[in-house]
């Protein structure tokens, strides 16, 4: 290879040789501008390189055309990487590997980039394309630069008979360590005093592995120094500081998994500004991807576009913009298609302008954000009388009204409670609560609506302060309306909303405590809470209260101190209306007074009943004092049932361990069962098996690159065919209910096989791609979940948290057992 003598000044410097950076470099090369591509690693595309071997890389979104000279199509990781390496050679891309950027700042004339080795480069334009994955935190100790220290584990099988020190007690460190056990000697160095940050399954495997002697760990231990050994079996020695002193560990390799640095502080250190204080906010960008610093462009995942194809297209576009060539963004064709049914006679930009003119909320977005919103949204054109969604539907989309009028019914009667007009929006409760729709919406005239997924709205809310303020205020108003259930005058509502405060509580945190002075009324906007009292020296859970209800009215009515403790069962958001203001409102609205009083009395009654139940089963002593309904509720809440919308429970006193539930699931779901009957905690004969709970805010949905996880109208959380098998959801699920499996057609057994219980052999394709599978609550099977229907003894049941209380109540004492079946 000939050595390229690089001039110090370039027209454009591209930082990061991922797909976006490579694409920009390839285009710059084609256009003949002077540029340099900087890559911190020794090879391009380190994020994709870190995927496991043989992983299928998908090319989403499918409809988006690829317009860059850099080739890309769905293929195996290896093929993608080889193609790109070929392109680097073909376009003679001017790339410098191992070039770590240390500082970046704008002088009067140009940008100055300081590299870690001290060299300074200048450029008129800088394109930041460093992604969000690459920022791995490195070991900051002497000797950490030896080749035996690595920050990733591509192929655990590549190491045999080595002594390996894993630094880091988080999930990635533990998972790496576990993958290496059996063939190697593993020592984990954990800075903390336990592994409480790990997922339970990892913790379990870890303890198990240590018991077996497969690995060992040192707690409260920090690495101090790494030395290379000139001779002997072990190439390096790591010195670690333990509570007992310095420990010397000779080893072959150190794998440090210290997490990733958040990208915002890094960008801020370059002087790039952000629209809001939120850590997840995206940097302020112009329609040409230019940041708040002129000449500094941001593309790819760092700019909020996580898909490879988007990044590649942006790499092309950004070079054109730099050359002063206003290319049409690649998504214009897709937008045109979106608008095909609506304003098809006008240009895309025209329509976008019209939308912003009509809907003030969307006018707060910049053009880039609006394009993304529209691309991810559906344009709906309902006719008069058409229902958009019904009360109690599970859907989480947000609607903006571009044209037309719609009626809203909140309660069950026939009177219209509200009207939304062009320029307004509805469905905003879905953004916060994750629960069923509180009302029905029906078109009154011909309408034009934009239906936006919750995920997209959330991303925008985090970045657009004004939008967030408006939506918060509206959310408070609707929560007041829904919780209290009476219509206040709009003045009164506005007044309330202005003075109400939105409070967030972590799981297990108290909203207020028994005996406290009453500070006001809490309207539960999202999450759920338990209400408990100290009875006979023990805390007894009295109720479970879900979002859309309120707590704290008892002291407000009686004027006495808090009667009970209210604790968040899961992460909960509540609107607090100050006690004084609430009393004013009550004084003016006798209706509310009546509602609060009625609830107060009902609560008293319920409490009495519950307390008696509690003491009754205690004195009966049959199941011990722990098995009171209140304790069962506490147990179920601890298992995360509080954030569930539908959870599978197994009554172990009925279960005959026949496993028909699992087999039925596997048979009807491509051969992979989505529940593990045998695994899960038990309390008072109720087991919570490893099976999806269809959470209110599904953790699995948080980070799905192809957006393959959805919630069906009846609440089922399911994964569609566009799953790319990345495994993010599997890692994000705190309940371990998602697995990666090859799905195959399950043949129906013959009569004879069924009679004798023989399972036919499925024809499994060799090397089929693994995808994420989870319970879909049999949404496509008439008759409901097969696990429940296949149970011959009725031990499997599905409940939602609202039913949970009544179930827990009914299973006190001995469940009825017949002495003889043939009576």
């Amino acid at each position: 290879m000939t050595k390229v003598i690089t001039p110090k000044h370039f027209n454009t410097i591209i930082i990061g040789a991922g797909p976006s950076g490579l694409s920009a470099a390839a285009r710059a090369s084609e256009r003949g501008i002077s540029y340099l591509l900087l890559e911190a690693e020794q090879a391009p595309a380190s994020t994709i390189r870190s995927y496991q071997r043989g992983k299928h890389v998908m090319a989403e979104p499918r409809g988006l055309p690829l317009r860059s000279p850099l080739p890309f199509a769905a293929a195996l990781r290896e093929t993608v990487l080889t193609n790109w390496e070929k392109s680097i050679a073909d376009y003679k891309i001017n790339v410098r590997y191992g070039a770590k950027v240390f500082g970046l700042h704008r002088t009067e004339k140009c940008h100055e980039i300081e590299l870690l080795d001290g060299e300074i480069l200048t450029a008129d334009n800088v394109i930041l394309a460093i992604g969000v994955q690459g920022n791995l935190r490195k070991l900051d100790i002497p000797g950490a630069d030896v080749p035996q220290v690595q920050y990733q584990l591509d192929d655990p099988m590549a190491f045999q008979n080595e002594t390996i020190v894993v630094v880091g007690g988080g999930d990635s460190g533990v998972e790496n360590a576990l993958a290496l056990t059996g063939r190697n000697r593993i020592i984990i160095l954990n800075r903390a005093e336990d592994f409480s940050n790990c997922k339970d399954s990892n913790l379990l495997q870890l303890t198990e592995a240590r018991k077996k002697g497969a690995l060992d760990w040192l707690l409260q231990t920090k690495p101090k120094l790494i030395e290379q050994n000139a001779k002997g079996e072990f190439p390096i020695t790591i010195f670690a500081e333990t509570p007992e002193g310095i420990e010397r560990i000779p080893c072959h390799r150190v794998i440090a998994r210290l997490g990733a640095l958040p990208s915002r502080p890094l960008l801020e250190s370059f002087g790039i500004s952000f629209p809001t204080d939120d850590l997840s906010a995206l940097p302020t960008l112009s329609t040409h991807y230019e940041s708040s610093i002129p000449g500094l462009y941001i593309i790819g995942a760092l700019a909020g576009y996580p898909l490879i194809k988007q990044g590649i297209n942006q790499g092309y576009e950004v070079i054109e913009y730099i050359l002063g060539n206003p290319v049409e963004p690649a998504d214009t064709a897709m937008l045109r298609e979106k608008f095909a049914s609506f304003c098809s006679d006008r240009g895309v930009d025209d329509v976008l302008e019209k939308i912003q003119k009509n809907v003030p909320l969307l006018a707060m977005l910049n053009r880039l954000q609006l394009r993304e919103l529209v691309l991810e949204s559906n344009i709906l054109l309902p006719k008069p009388g058409e229902v958009i969604f019904k009360r109690n539907d599970y859907s989480t989309t947000f609607y903006s009204v571009v044209e037309g009028e719609l009626d809203i019914w909140i309660d069950n009667d026939d009177t219209i409670d509200d009207v939304v007009k062009a320029g307004e929006f509805f469905g905003e409760m879905a953004l916060v609560s994750g629960r069923r729709r509180a009302g029905t919406v029906r078109a009154r005239t011909n309408c034009v609506l934009i239906e936006t997924p919750r995920r997209v709205m959330q991303k925008l809310i985090n970045s657009v302060q004004s939008m967030r303020t408006i939506l918060n205020e509206v959310a408070i108003k609707s929560v007041v309306q829904i919780c209290i259930g009476v219509s206040l005058s709009s003045d009164e509502l506005n007044d309330l909303a202005k003075h109400a405060t939105l409070k967030s509580f972590a799981a297990g945190e108290d909203l207020f405590h028994e005996g406290d002075e009453a500070d006001g009324l809490y309207l539960i906007q999202s999450g759920s809470v338990t209400v408990s009292r100290m009875i006979g020296g023990k805390e007894v859970v009295l109720f479970y209260v879900a979002a859309g209800n309120y707590v704290g009215e008892m002291s407000l009515v009686s004027g006495e101190p808090r009667y009970a403790t209210v604790r968040a069962a899961i992460a909960t958001e509540a609107v607090l209306i100050d006690a004084g203001r609430m009393r004013d409102i009550i004084a003016r609205n006798p209706e509310i007074r009546g509602a609060l009083d009625a609830r107060f009395l009902q609560h008293l009654q319920e409490q009495e009943r519950r307390q008696q139940l509690g003491t009754a089963s205690e004195s009966a002593g049959a199941l011990g004092s722990q098995a009171t309904p209140s304790n069962l509720i506490s147990f179920l809440i601890q298992q995360g049932v509080g954030e569930a919308t539908d959870v599978l429970l197994i009554d172990e006193s009925l279960c005959i361990r026949c496993n028909h539930c699992e087999q039925a699931c596997a048979d009807t779901h491509g051969g992979a069962t989505r529940l593990d009957r045998d695994a899960g905690p038990i309390y008072a004969n109720i087991r919570v098996p490893t099976s999806c709970r269809h959470c209110e805010h599904p953790h699995c949905m948080k980070d799905c690159p192809p957006d393959a996880i959805h919630r069906a109208p009846h609440g089922e959380v399911y994964i569609d065919d566009s799953c790319i098998g990345c495994g993010n959801c599997q890692q994000n699920c705190p309940y371990d209910v998602i697995q990666m499996a090859v799905v195959h057609e399950q043949p129906e057994p013959s009569l004879w096989q069924m009679l004798l219980g023989i399972r036919p052999k499925p024809d499994i394709e060799e090397g089929g791609a693994k995808v994420a599978v989870k319970c879909d609550m049999c949404k496509d099977i008439t008759g409901g979940p097969v696990c429940v229907r296949a149970c011959p003894v009725g031990a499997a049941l599905r409940v939602n948290p609202e039913e949970l209380l009544s179930y827990a109540g009914s299973s006190t004492g001995e469940p009825r057992l017949l002495d003889s079946d043939e009576s």
Binding site: K211, K212, D651, E652, S653, L654, C655, I656, R657, H660, Q663, A664, D667, T668, D678, A679, G680, P681, I682, N685, E748, P749, L751, M754, L755, G757, I781, T782, G783, V786, V788, R789, A790, C791, P792, V793, G794, A795, L797, V799, E803, S806, Y807, S810, S811, P815, R816, L817, L818, D821, E822, S823
Partner: protein
Amino acid sequence: MQRGNIFDYKNYLYFKLAVVMILIAFAAFMVFEPAVGHYGGSWIGYGLGTISALMVLWMAWYGVRKRRYRSAGTTQGWLSAHIYLGTALTVIVTLHSGFHFGFNIHTLAYGLLLVVVVSGFFGNYAYMIYPRQMTENMGEDSLDGLLLRIAEANKLARQIALLMPDDINNIVTHACQATHIGVGILEQLRGFQPNCPSALAVQKLTTMGNHLSTEQRKLHRELYSIMVRRQSLVKRARQDLMYRSRLGFWLYFHVPFAIALLVAMTAHIIAVFFYW
């Protein structure tokens, strides 16, 4: 939400149905008495026989139904009906026979039916009793987990025993090698091993700590506690296997005899219609 088991399913729907069927059969039996007395070939006998044959077929179909996961309805309802109507069947078939028994294919079919129903009663008993006991025995542990822990205890105990006098070492080694868990169907059903070497070892170890050195005494205490823990693990594992085998054992009678019944019943029907 009210929870039901297989017996009180839908408020004893199938129990009521079974009672009604028996009453109707009895009434018919009383009212229509043929001149020559009751026998299978009378008008009422054919009627009861046809109903019984259809019911037997329907009962056997349960074996298919419970594995047809794609079919509608709940298996629980089917099982409830299977139990009650199966019990009613014995009465109806008895009436069908007109109490004529002998050494022939007809009585064989009748006998097989009784075996099937009675084995079913055992199944009901097992389903009622064992699930709760299984949970009490195992808690959240799995059998595999227990076996793993036993293996670990074995390893540890034998390591310590190596440092002890020969007699102790022999007992521990013997306990680790000769203890078996659920070998053979009889032992599985019984849930214990006669003269279990583990239990014996624990018993003997209690009295063997007297003539040891101070160092060994410490080890002895440790060894003893390991052996006691191991013993209780072994017990629990055996119990679990016992419950499992008892939950399934009756099926080894129920299903083969049901198939035999189908064959005998076919022979009985053919015999009646072709060779009467």
